[in-house]
Symmetry: none
Subunit: 215 residues, 4 copies
Amino acid sequence: MNAKLPQKNTEDLTAHILNIAAIHFSEKGFSGARVDEIAKEAGVNKSSMYYRVGDKKALYHSVIFNMITQMVDTAATRINHANSPADKLKAYIHTLADLILGQPHFAPLMLREIASGGTNMSTDTLKAMNQMKGLAKTILEEGHEAGIFRESNYALVHIIIVSTFNLIAAGTPIRERLSALTDTETCLSENPELPYEKLVNDMTNFVFCALKTNK
Amino acid sequence: MNAKLPQKNTEDLTAHILNIAAIHFSEKGFSGARVDEIAKEAGVNKSSMYYRVGDKKALYHSVIFNMITQMVDTAATRINHANSPADKLKAYIHTLADLILGQPHFAPLMLREIASGGTNMSTDTLKAMNQMKGLAKTILEEGHEAGIFRESNYALVHIIIVSTFNLIAAGTPIRERLSALTDTETCLSENPELPYEKLVNDMTNFVFCALKTNK
Amino acid sequence: MNAKLPQKNTEDLTAHILNIAAIHFSEKGFSGARVDEIAKEAGVNKSSMYYRVGDKKALYHSVIFNMITQMVDTAATRINHANSPADKLKAYIHTLADLILGQPHFAPLMLREIASGGTNMSTDTLKAMNQMKGLAKTILEEGHEAGIFRESNYALVHIIIVSTFNLIAAGTPIRERLSALTDTETCLSENPELPYEKLVNDMTNFVFCALKTNK
Amino acid sequence: MNAKLPQKNTEDLTAHILNIAAIHFSEKGFSGARVDEIAKEAGVNKSSMYYRVGDKKALYHSVIFNMITQMVDTAATRINHANSPADKLKAYIHTLADLILGQPHFAPLMLREIASGGTNMSTDTLKAMNQMKGLAKTILEEGHEAGIFRESNYALVHIIIVSTFNLIAAGTPIRERLSALTDTETCLSENPELPYEKLVNDMTNFVFCALKTNK
DNA sequence: TATGAATGAGATTTCATTCAT
DNA sequence: AATGAATGAAATCTCATTCAT
């Protein structure tokens, strides 16, 4: 029943542990997660886990740090491949959608961490998070200078995008419970076959409509 | 040193306990909150608390239920006082802003609850939550029929508004840490004197721009 | 097998726990003692022990504090009942002998605590300890003024008496092992029937000889 | 950052480890000391330490044994260089003072070991310890026969000297804390410049006064 | 010999809940 | 209704020792 554990080299095993830990912290929060269970499911002796990653707090820190830095790195890379401000904004939205909606335990982890005031984020992690906002600022300012976007509160736009994807991602189980309760569709896209693409398109469309200049 | 506790009637004391509990659950989550601490800070004997509100889960349920139903009730009332779809949408946005940004522990509680998949929400609570989305649907559909709003994914618009205000509200401590770290302003509004009004205006503006018809 | 535990009132039970704890700390030191074992032998649930006295450190602090203050109180009372400096010095020596030799776990506790630099002594405890030295000072100075004792380093005299009784008391098991090994007597008194009285007499005699004026 | 470790030959490295271990056992006792820390501070791999000196108990045994035998050897040698019983007693006292007061971790180790009933002393170590008492016996008996010393309980005299120096040595941190608390001098010698010499002189004087014959 | 990694057994502490009055 | 005391079950963490190379 244990997830297959790679024993080849040290880094792989540690990464494996962190992945399992991410799932547990995501599902139950820091206090709700159990060190015992994480170790068991990772197929690792509990003491070995302490040997490798330290105590519960250290485990959590590592999970959060990895998550944020991976996200920022991926986003920056993908945005840099786009040329026009419009394409960059699209890349920005699509990348966030991919990362947040594509990794099921990302959003809960993030929401919980924000809910506790970032208590467990190191300064480094915080700065990395802030780089995402920096990316949004650059894109919107360039677009404004090019006459494509109207002037806007870039921080607000950033939060709108990030928060929406996070709540959609984390909200899946709640929506499922709701749709089981009611006759009317409660889903975000009317076509259950293509929820993801339609959703991202709707979101992109919404943002572009809001930002386009009045000509 | 305890918050003054009203002992006159039973309801007041129970409400007092629930308020204290809300703060603790908001700050530390369900597993992180401590029954001992809640009782102590509420100035109530722990056993008495069990006698009144039941165990930890019951306490949490009550907190969540009260919060959601209060929100829905307030929102419905205020929206019904508006006449045109545009005014109703404004009322919708402003009410959510008031409720979410005005009650400091609302947003963390909500985010945590969503993060854990609504595990602790009763069906009643869920249905109440869903009524908020129903309000949005009605407003947007009426506006569309009246030719004021373009056709839109109402569930998405609802989530955009709710999630944004929640993340802004819960994100305050993180933004404060960030602004202590960096020179450049990281706040959502550039004028620190009027953060709230400007923010809600920007948000309202953003949504209306996104929804207005192309004429 | 458990020591009879008085359940009458709260203070008695706490005192009972502290007595058992004193034995364990005395025999095995702070790190060597086991909270489990103390609770078990005291016939008390481990959690109850935490409820009453706090964690291991708090337990230890209480033990040490009680021990020292009891000793100082008893000694002061008994010395005050004597009149002449000579009688007071005798009372001083006999009281210390009674307390240190009469309570088997006193000396090991004291020696370990001194060995670790008084790390676990509160300022109050330290001051209480110092009062014992103050008693010695007063006695020797009065005796010197009365022409009975020669001038002396009172702090040294104090340490000589205290340390000797402590090492004798704590050294019992070692002497027993030695006497089992060798033919020659290794005991402190040659008459095994009266070890205690002879010992205290010898000690008193030794000190008085050392202090008497050269006439 | 580690203490320089001599890797030239095996004996040096083992001695180095034992020195570090002595400090740790002295400061924290057997149970309080940590094998990990000893190895780390000695700059030696933990497994290597096991290979060289065995487990924690073996480590401790070696430390204690070395310490006792060194003390006895040194004392015996120095006493044998003196001629008259008076000089021998002086040599006895001065040697013990040198050894006990001169090696900061000697006294705590010894006190702890006595406190735990010599549990960790091998028979060899015990016998070595006992030789010290034998030296005292010889000196005092010779002096008595020569009419210089009055008849005395030699074992008591031995313990007085040994215990006093040990408590003075181990008590330094406590006296420092006390002197920081009080205005009045709490030191053993009134002149802080010469604490050691005055102390040993006072002690020697005290013992000689106590032992001298009444003529 | 030397070493990084691993681990079992056990230690301390926590905490929601219940008991007895 | 109210409360101080009690507690079982479990959670986190530690540490001497050994394994594998």
